[in-house]
């Protein structure tokens, strides 16, 4: 298969699909513009990773209607494992192949005026509000073919809106489960946190079928208002056949705080773009991402923080474990724009190599256009430290167990940040399975 494959989804298809979902006109129009753009635009060109032969075109788009389920017990058991059953206040939406099939939210959330909805419902019931944020300042439809395709074929996602001065105590959780092994997912998440609000969001992407090929094309937009705080956790674990493009963007206003904790555990080829724009003075971003590459997987991770605001601070921590013949490129970019005086940008990229045949590149990049700033970076690619191994083994811990502890410790910065115990445990299990 090649990129020249004639696109099977055209304007007619997109219009019909949009109308079938009862979408407002502005969204139909955006989809139509996007499908035209998709024809003209090129694929993104992530440095040092050739994605031209990757499957971005073969998938099933519309999985049809999905019957809602009544109880968590009716879910796939691996999906159930992601849910904290004991929690008093549960805010959860479970999607199957893009369609919401289970939803629960606390009364408290409603009373606060918080919206926590699948994007299809949001488009019908809160069209104006959605329009305000959808493909807003964080991301452009015409960045490349994949952003255009995303908008044209959008078939799942979540809209979260937190009004001014509202603090959402319990985390909002979503699970995007791909059951149909050929289904493509074009998932769009919006977290809009108005001034002085606080919210914690945690998402899981999961599929359990190893071989068949499919596509995931994901965009998240996070708008952090003045003095607002958003904690965004994500655990991606698509199986081998799924080619993933995932783009998580944040936009932070004055004194706002956005923190990311991303466990990027896909088994298939993946391009990831995580960009945070620190627009306002005193805004702050803290990005932590961990990943494991195995078998013949190829992955490319971009983590960017762009400083416009004075006194803005941005921290990036990326840890990757590479085994077998896997190949990953980790690019960390700190961009400080002219006028962002007293900005502070720090980043660390570390890659732990478990195999001679694996490849891992850590590229810290500082692009600074302002004198009065502080910035720093640290990067390393290496094997497990023999002195650490000696130390642990000298206490009686076996070689395998010592290595296991070191790897879990290496990935702990993200695991520890996740707000839901069940997801934490599940990620720990995934790490365990992937490494051994």
């Amino acid at each position: 298969m090649s990129v020249d494959t004639k696109w099977t989804y055209d304007e007619n298809y997109v219009r019909e699909y949009s109308q079938k979902r009862g979408e407002p006109e502005w969204l139909t129009e955006q989809r139509l513009t996007a499908i035209r753009l998709a024809d003209e635009l090129e694929l993104p060109k992530p440095e040092k990773t050739n994605i031209k032969t990757w499957n971005f075109t073969e998938f099933k788009h519309d999985s049809g209607e999905a019957a809602p389920i009544q109880s968590v017990d009716d879910l796939h058991e691996d999906v159930q494992a992601l849910i904290d059953r004991s929690t008093e206040e549960q805010n959860l939406i479970v999607f199957r192949d893009g369609k919401p099939i289970y939803r629960t939210e606390s009364d408290h959330l409603k009373e606060q005026g918080v919206l926590f909805l699948d994007i299809e419902t949001a488009a019908r019931e809160h069209s104006d509000l959605l329009k305000k944020y959808f493909m807003g300042s964080a991301v452009e439809v015409d960045e490349h073919r994949l952003t255009a395709l995303h908008v044209a074929l959008l078939n799942g996602g979540t809209f979260i809106y937190v009004p001014k001065n509202v603090t959402v105590e319990a985390p909002l959780q979503t699970i995007y489960w791909q059951e149909d092994p050929e289904a493509g997912l074009f998932n769009h998440v919006i977290v809009a946190a108005e001034d002085n609000s606080q919210v914690t969001y945690l998402e899981n992407y999961a599929s359990f079928n190893r071989e068949q090929s499919a596509v995931a094309n994901i965009i998240s937009e996070v708008y952090t208002g003045q003095n607002a705080k958003v904690s965004y956790g994500g655990v991606d674990h698509f199986e081998k056949g799924v080619t993933t493009y995932v783009n998580r963007r944040g936009y932070v206003e004055k004194d706002g705080y956005l923190e990311w904790a991303l466990g990027q555990m896909n088994e298939g080829n993946t391009v990831s773009d995580n960009t945070t724009v620190l627009q306002g003075d005193g805004s702050h971003a803290d990005t932590k991402a961990v990943s494991i590459g195995r078998e013949d997987q190829s992955q490319n991770f971009w983590t960017n923080i762009v400083h416009y605001g004075k006194h803005s601070t941005g921290h990036i921590l990326t840890h990757g474990v590479m085994k077998d013949k896997a190949s990953s490129i980790f690019n960390g970019v700190t961009k400080i724009k002219h006028g962002a005086t007293k900005a502070d940008g720090q980043q660390t990229e570390r890659v732990l190599m478990l195999s001679e045949r694996a490849r891992g590149d850590a590229n810290p990049i500082l692009l600074i256009d302002e004198d009065d700033v502080t910035a720093g970076h640290a990067a390393s690619v290496g094997r497990v430290d023999p002195m650490q191994m000696f130390y642990m083994m000298s206490r009686g811990i076996t070689r395998t167990e010592a290595e296991r502890l070191i790897i879990h410790g290496f990935l702990a910065p993200v695991v520890n940040e996740l707000p839901i115990q069940a997801v934490k445990e599940r990620l720990t299990e995934v790490i365990e399975r992937k490494v051994y």
Partner: protein, 261 residues
């Protein structure tokens, strides 16, 4: 069961092709506390690390046996299982692994599958040993040695000693960087281990640790060998007179050895 015996015979150790230990004999029995003293660069720490199986050191000749078993044939973790322990001069920092998880893994590795320590019992033991060493309770949830001060690292080594209860312990400069109060606490911890089942080799520059822990035997190391042995009074004399009299007695001009010289 009576104490163990660690027997070192004719040991030669190289690092990166340069010989540091040049024929060393030493026997440590359960119930005995030995001290190895000597100026910097005479091979003391090399001896400690080599016995435990440090990856950088190569043993070219000689043997080390624990109760008749060939230690040099064992993997590092097997040496620990056999009852050996090394308190390190520069313990590694391991991010993301809590002191408590590390300790529990270590104890369970030594006990073996099916005989794991219960969580309650573990917590009680760790709490009481931390109290003994005047270590704050928050210690157990901190990452292993990460961001620890020099003194905290040393205390942590002794905490591990008390938790793991080895049969033969080697303490490599456990006193360096400790203030007098910390030195007392650490010494108290080591003294609490004293029993016929516990043999100990203390490596130190200074006599001051030996004010709190009375050694049965004191050895002086120079040029990669033990050049003089005696009782506790030898340490006392070294404190008062330094090492020059030994060098004179033995006709040694430069006591240092190998690349550390």
């Amino acid at each position: 069961m009576a104490g163990s015996t660690l027997k070192i015979e004719g040991l030669h150790v190289e690092i990166d092709g340069s010989e540091i230990i040049k024929g060393l004999d030493l026997e440590i029995n359960g119930g005995e506390i030995h001290a190895i003293m000597g100026p910097n660069g005479t091979g003391k720490s090399t001896l400690a690390s080599a016995i435990m199986g440090h990856p950088r050191y190569e043993i070219t000749q000689g043997s080390v046996h624990l109760d008749g078993k060939d230690v040099l044939e064992m993997e590092v973790d097997e040496r620990a299982h056999a009852g050996m322990f090394l308190a390190m001069q520069y313990p590694s920092e391991i991010s993301g692994v809590t002191n408590s998880d590390f300790m529990r893994s270590a104890i369970n590795s030594n006990r073996g599958e099916g005989d794991e320590i219960s969580l309650m019992k573990f917590i009680r033991k760790m709490d009481s040993k931390m109290d003994e060493l005047e270590i704050d309770q928050s210690f157990s949830q901190r990452y292993l040695n990460e961001g620890f001060s020099g003194g905290e690292k040393k205390r942590n080594e002794i905490l591990q000693l008390l938790m793991l209860e080895p049969r033969i312990a080697i303490l490599d400069e456990i006193d360096s960087g400790l203030d007098i109060d910390a030195l007392k606490v650490v010494s108290k911890g080591i003294n609490s281990m004293k029993s016929p089942d516990f043999g100990c080799l203390i490596i130190t520059h200074y006599q001051r640790l030996l004010n709190y822990i009375t050694p049965d035997k004191v050895h002086v190391m120079m040029q990669g060998r033990i050049v003089k042995s005696g009782g506790a009074e030898l340490a006392q004399r070294l404190e008062e007179e330094g090492y020059d009299w030994i060098k004179e007695e033995l006709g040694i001009e430069d006591e240092k050895v190998g690349e550390q010289a």
